[in-house]
Symmetry: C2
Subunit: 339 residues, 2 copies
DNA sequence: CTGAAAGCGCTAACAA
DNA sequence: TTGTTAGCGCTTTCAG
């Protein structure tokens, strides 16, 4: 049973395609009541669905939005994308999902394709610190709303919805200080970007950090382990760790295990995002057992971000000229979780 | 800068749109070499990209596939969808993602929309045990490949890629037996479906289960806690637990904590999928501390599923008449992890 | 009120 | 080897 077209319906109803189109689109029309009812009935009977491709071609909008993230399976992206998708589908939009793999070339390919598809908006966590900013700007300037999420490009015109890394970090640092930490170490990623720098800045807002208190590692567990062990061995009284991301936690726990240091009793810590716990064998498990009480995590407000994103799009769709200020949501400090 | 069309390019090159179309589509053509070069150059210069909407309308294929799952942020869906997306984009397809929320009405809406979009294939984990099977069948019969993942519909014609719940369960049960379990309890969800029933059947293949050894709960933590406590209190020597899903693990741990029973020393367990650990407060944490050594989990082969799925689609696209047998991948038993 | 007709940008059959 | 032309299914003037 193939899909029936407008023309089919018009034929069966003995009216013009125009009439059918108007009735079915609830256009502000003047069409006889009986004719209208007839059309509606036949359309329903044949389960008429407009060909969205043809409609898009005519209207020059796809009824779809593009979402481009480095890796949709990490961090809070799955949840964020899900919430967006549900909110947008309720408004008649479907969601095309793209993994840029944090690679500008791949991202470019996706962006070009999405543009050729005339998606109605672009939601993006830009790869490689904005390598495709010029292309994004071009898309933006043709009238397609572009919204950055999670990451942002300070010198570009597009709006963004992100976690306020600076304020959130400061709060985290203050939390540690209140718990009695007198000497703070900052454990972060070697590969920097705007978002991570904001987090570092936030901690600096709260405490003085000497260069040697800032431990930057590639996110390779062994290296983190080593560097942390070094620091832990000669740590002063009342030391504490601020983790730029809890991706780094397993390495720190490895080090703690080496010197039989329990956390948080022996070493208060706090870090961004729920850690991912993967246990391969007994050693790993022993590392995780160094956690002897719940520790706080700085958790990004995913639902808030999704809500703001959906709202931005809804408003933009209704009134393209609407102006928006960027949204920086503070993260919340909550108990340890491994979701 | 708006996008240039075939006609624009044809105009600038002083040739027909046909020529441009043919050259740019690498059709098996007979066109002069200089003309071809000219066209290619101009197209490149103006960064020509075909309007995919127009192309789709003509070709009646969208260059996109639809993925419909109950909740794209849970289980292994994020990873699975990501792998599929990457593989398919490399072959020129984008991915439209849909959350059915395990709700047939919502799923139907999505399916109808995807159909009106003429997606080239449908990958779906059907909601509510196949409530939309008739619609799916209609779509399938119009020639759109339909592939079930994770869940399947035994009496429908579509191919599927799933975990072999029966074999995997049996292996899990055997694993417990080898570890010395003489008396097995099965902890499962009250709400049954084909996939879960397969798991139960697998355990029954390995051991005799009396009705009272099968504990079925709503996935509400308090209920699991209570029922498990009951069973644990009067458990025989060498008892062990098989968890139909590690979603149920927190409740079991709560019960273990009540009677100060450590796991796995005091009670060997095994269960499907990595558990999600969320710690809200000290009590929760204490429950998790009842795990005193790594426990095995039955982990689904996500990469394998993604690979099979991508392959199925690739072959179907190349040769729509190709026949496929359903794929049932055994899960692997590996150490505890909380990803 | 109503319908005929002109496209949207692309492809493909058919002429030339 | 090339170009003309007729649509794909829908929306939207613009005459009737």
């Amino acid at each position: 049973m193939s899909l029936s077209s407008l023309k089919d319906i018009a034929g069966k109803a003995g009216v013009s395609t125009t009439a059918v189109s108007k009735v079915l689109n609830r256009a502000p029309i003047r069409i006889g009541d009986e004719k209208r009812r007839l059309i509606v009935n036949i359309a329903r009977k044949f389960n008429y669905r407009p060909n969205l491709i043809a409609r898009s071609l005519k209207r020059k909008k796809a009824g779809a939005i593009g979402v481009v993230v480095p890796d949709m399976s990490t961090l809070f992206y799955p949840e964020l994308i899900r919430l967006m998708e549900v909110a947008l589908f309720a408004r008649g939009y479907q969601t095309v999902i793209c993994n840029s793999q944090d690679n500008a070339i791949c991202e470019k390919e996706h962006l070009e394709t999405l543009r050729s598809r005339f998606v109605d908006a672009l939601v993006i966590a830009p790869a490689q610190n904005g390598a495709n900013a010029p292309l994004l700007r071009r898309i933006y300037e043709t009238g397609t709303p572009v919204l950055c999420i999670d990451r942002y490009l300070p010198n570009e015109p597009f709006c963004y919805v992100i976690t306020d890394g600076r304020i959130s970090s400061r709060r985290g640092a203050v939390w540690l200080i209140k718990r009695g930490v007198k000497k703070m170490f900052y454990l972060g990623e070697r590969q920097r970007n705007q978002v991570l720098d904001d987090r570092l800045a936030g901690v600096k807002d709260a405490v003085k950090l000497l260069p040697k208190d800032i431990i930057l590692c590639a996110s390779e567990r062994g290296e983190i382990h080593e560097k942390c062990l070094d620091v832990l061995r000669r740590r002063p009284q009342a030391a504490g760790f601020f983790l730029e991301s809890n991706r780094l936690l397993p390495g720190l726990l490895d080090a703690a295990r080496d010197i039989n240091l329990t956390i948080p009793d022996g070493l208060p810590i706090i870090g961004f995002d729920p850690p991912v716990m993967v246990v391969n064998g007994a050693e790993d498990f022993a590392s995780w057992r160094m956690l002897t009480a719940p520790v706080p995590v700085i958790k990004q407000n995913v639902a808030g971000m999704a809500e703001k994103t959906a709202k931005y799009l809804a408003v933009k769709f209704a009134k393209p000229s609407a102006k928006f200020s960027p949204v920086r949501l503070p993260a919340e400090i909550s108990a340890l979780s491994f979701p």
